[in-house]
């Protein structure tokens, strides 16, 4: 399965294959309203798809939680600002 495969057509009922192909887009909020609603309905009615969606949702949450709050080093920030001031920043 890859996301390159055909998506469910407008107005058509979503089956498992179509649901799984569009699952990440569904979880990312990237589907249009109609398809999102039909896919949501399928996922809530289909236990295997529900479990798969739950797994992917938890995986994405884990990745997002791993986002570090690493900050730009102070020395770099000062170097950039110094360069920009030389270019006219704050002039």
């Amino acid at each position: 399965m890859t996301p390159d495969h055909a998506k469910p057509t407008t107005g058509a009922e979503v089956d498992c294959k179509a649901a799984l192909e569009s699952l990440f887009e569904f979880l990312d909020g990237e589907l249009d309203g109609s398809l999102e609603e039909r896919l949501k309905a399928h996922v809530h009615e289909c236990r295997p798809c529900f479990e798969r969606a739950d797994f992917e949702r938890r995986f994405l949450a884990a990745v997002q939680a791993a986002r570090t709050e690493e900050r730009c080093p102070k020395a770099l920030r000062e170097r950039v600002l110094s360069t920009l001031r030389a270019e006219g920043l704050g002039a």
Partner: protein, 200 residues
């Protein structure tokens, strides 16, 4: 999108918004540069060059649009230019996709193994390490969408690729990430051995 500024005589003074918005986004740009370069020193070079270029071409920024997207785009261009790898990336992409597809073939094992550990609060370092190992073309998309909360369209603009390619790389990148995490869990003794025939 990025253009060098005209001569110093005609370049207008940068507006206060540059300081207020662009400078405030430096942490995000630095993290993005780190994800691209995987090297702190290289990332600093990218940030420095990107901000200089952004400042000189600030007039190309459209007010009301996402300044992080604009800065990410410039940083990405600086990175590609520094590595001179734009053409090489296309060649590698097929191989990377094949690896991702092979990893996906073990999806049941990956999912079964990861499922019990996904809610652990100590997965962060393993996820960061797995992200760093992703091929650059996948890593950039995953970082932009999953860590920097950029929509597909924005990621496509930053990376200069079609939205469909973002969708495909995101899918494969996430599957590779899951596979790498499963390997980590296996090495940590949390998962049974990988079935035969799975990718290394």
């Amino acid at each position: 999108m990025m253009t060098d500024a005209p001569g110093a005589d005609t370049r207008p003074t940068a507006p206060p918004e540059f300081s207020a918005a662009a400078i405030a986004a430096m942490d995000d740009v630095y993290r993005f540069a780190r994800s691209l370069t995987r090297d702190p020193s290289d990332a600093e070079d990218v940030v420095q060059d990107a901000y200089l270029r952004a400042f000189r071409s600030w007039h190309t920024f459209q007010p009301g649009t996402d300044i992080r997207r604009w800065l990410f785009t410039i940083a990405r261009n600086v990175f590609l230019r520094s590595r001179e790898r734009g053409q090489r990336e296309v060649t590698l992409d097929d191989e990377q996709s094949a690896v991702a597809d092979a990893a996906q073939a073990q999806e049941a094992w990956v999912r079964g193994g990861l499922d019990p550990i996904l809610d652990r609060t100590d997965l962060g370092p393993a996820i960061s390490a797995a992200l760093a190992q992703l091929p650059e073309s996948f890593r950039a998309v995953v970082v932009l969408v999953d860590l920097e909360d950029q929509p597909y369209e924005a990621a496509a603009e930053v990376l200069g690729i079609p939205v469909g390619t973002v969708r495909s790389r995101l899918f494969r990148g996430r599957k590779l990430l899951q596979h790498s995490l499963a390997q980590h869990a296996r090495d940590a003794g949390l998962l049974p051995a990988r079935p035969s025939g799975s990718p290394a």
